[in-house]
């Protein structure tokens, strides 16, 4: 797990998340190096998505800290208040997110979905933003979708539009929250291929996933969570060969990977 610490892009330190008085994430620490793909796997309810959402404070951590490129992120004001959201904008510009249910803007075309934040967040002019959006859509094989509304596209296409939307903002890291869980199995391959492509280009990714094949083939590191804690993990090849804990072994057996 230890590499050159100077290359650590994201450091999650002792982060906890509490829902209804119960710690769903319990003092978890995790590092992601620049250019690395880290997969978070584990049973449902393990706290994987909650942990992921703390990275850009869509979920306010109850304790612990988030560091990006060596700097701690400190939101101001009451969680959910305008001041709070405003204070996080600088951090969030650097972190892309791809959601399980895509969360595209349903009234905007695919192209407009990819353009809107470029214009209002990065201050690019419309022509420049459009050109960039088309390039990203093309890169993800979505040329024919550009003029369509999300509802007119398949699940696999919608998720790739969401990836294009994130990429167009040049994030330093992209968080993926179960990116294929809401997609027909036959269409999830096109999303996984897109993720593979990004990994090959050296884009830093933190991916919560149930796709063991993806974790095994694409991720550099695997983190296995259960009951709100990291209970196992390591370099992906080693982990899938020989998980060191009984809990991880049981999980991998249950999903037919061991």
């Amino acid at each position: 797990m230890e590499r050159d610490p100077a290359a650590t892009l994201l450091r999650i330190e002792n982060v906890s998340v509490v829902h209804d008085g119960k710690a769903v994430v319990d003092r978890v620490s995790l590092n992601v190096q620049r250019g690395q793909v880290v997969a978070i796997i584990g049973p449902s309810g393990a706290g994987k998505s909650s942990l992921l959402r703390t990275v850009n404070f869509l979920q306010q951590p109850a304790g612990g800290s988030i560091h990006l490129a060596g700097e701690e992120v400190r939101p101001q004001g009451r969680p959910g208040s305008r001041k709070y959201e405003r204070s996080l904008r600088k951090h969030r510009r650097r972190v892309g997110v791809v959601f399980q249910h895509f969360n595209l803007f349903p009234h905007l075309t695919a192209l407009e979905n990819v353009v809107v934040a470029q214009v209002h967040v990065h201050g690019r002019d419309t022509a420049e933003a459009k050109a960039r959006a088309l390039a990203e859509l093309e890169r993800l094989n979505l040329r024919d979708c550009a003029g369509k509304l999300p509802g007119q596209c398949s699940g696999g296409q919608q998720q790739r539009i969401a990836i294009a939307r994130a990429l167009a903002l040049d994030p330093e890291i992209i968080l993926f929250d179960e990116p294929t869980s809401a997609i027909d199995p036959e269409l999830s391959a096109e999303v996984l291929d897109a993720l593979k492509g990004l990994a090959a280009q050296g884009i830093t990714m933190l991916v919560v996933t149930h796709e063991m094949k993806f974790a095994q083939e694409v991720a550099d590191e695997v983190v296995f969570m259960a009951g709100g804690r990291i209970v196992d993990g390591g370099p992906s090849a080693e982990f899938f060969q020989n998980p060191s804990t009984e809990r991880a072994r049981k999980f991998l057996q249950a999903v037919g990977r061991w």
Binding site: S81, R82, R89, R92, V97, F99, N103, V116
Partner: protein, 211 residues
């Protein structure tokens, strides 16, 4: 028509004026009320929710009396027309705030997650993302409310506004034909509300066609 039905055009103008005036006051005033009701500060949101509750719990006519006879008695002299617009406008703001609030609640939480994760500032997020999705949700209840408001505007006749209802009353006193007079008045109210419903359907269809 004005010869047959004394003062009809002026009355029509008063009814339409009160309705549109009160609607405008309500639509605008409801924005800060909604904003306050959604505040993360319990004091601010509590005050807004209390305002909505209080306004809706008191009969509209009592609000009109309070503003016309109460405030108008000395503190803030208002002509009947102005008092009617103010009273119905304040009442509208509470109802419209509830319409805005339920509309915002109907937008999936994932949209807010997307807005935040893209770091969209509040202004563009509202203009480009939330309002276009809010409009088709709030339009039908807003048009129903407008039709209700048109009918409530008849209460202004009690504080002395010469609106359709008041003119109907005056004419019935002189022509001694209440049935015919108020049938005509009723038909005029119907004639005014039909376009509101039609407009709402038209805009609704247009928005639906885009989605």
């Amino acid at each position: 028509m004005d010869v047959l039905f004394h003062g009809l055009l002026g009355a029509l103008a008063n009814t339409v004026g009160i309705t549109l005036g009160a609607l405008l006051v309500g639509l605008v005033l409801a924005v800060p009320v909604t904003w306050a009701a959604r505040s993360t500060s319990p004091a601010v949101s509590g005050a807004a929710v209390a305002f909505i509750q209080i306004v809706r719990s008191v009969p509209v006519l009592v609000w009109l009396f309070l503003i016309y006879f109460g405030l108008g008695g000395g503190m803030l002299p208002l002509p009947p027309f102005g008092a009617a617009v103010a009273g119905l406008g304040i009442v509208s703001s509470a109802y419209v705030a509830e319409i805005y609030r339920s509309g915002l609640a109907a937008i999936p939480a994932g949209q807010r997650d997307a807005i935040h994760s893209l770091a969209l500032p509040a202004g563009p997020a509202l203009r480009r993302i939330l309002l276009p999705q809010l409009l088709p949700i709030v339009l039908p209840p807003l048009s129903s409310y407008t039709i209700g408001l048109l009918k409530d505007s008849a209460l202004a006749s009690i504080i002395g506004v010469k609106d359709l209802t008041a003119i109907g009353y005056d004419n019935a006193q002189t022509n001694m034909n209440g049935l015919l007079t108020f049938t005509i008045i009723g038909l005029i109210y119907i004639g005014l509300s039909v376009p509101v419903a039609a407009l709402s359907r038209h805009v609704g269809n247009k928005v639906a066609a885009r989605a």
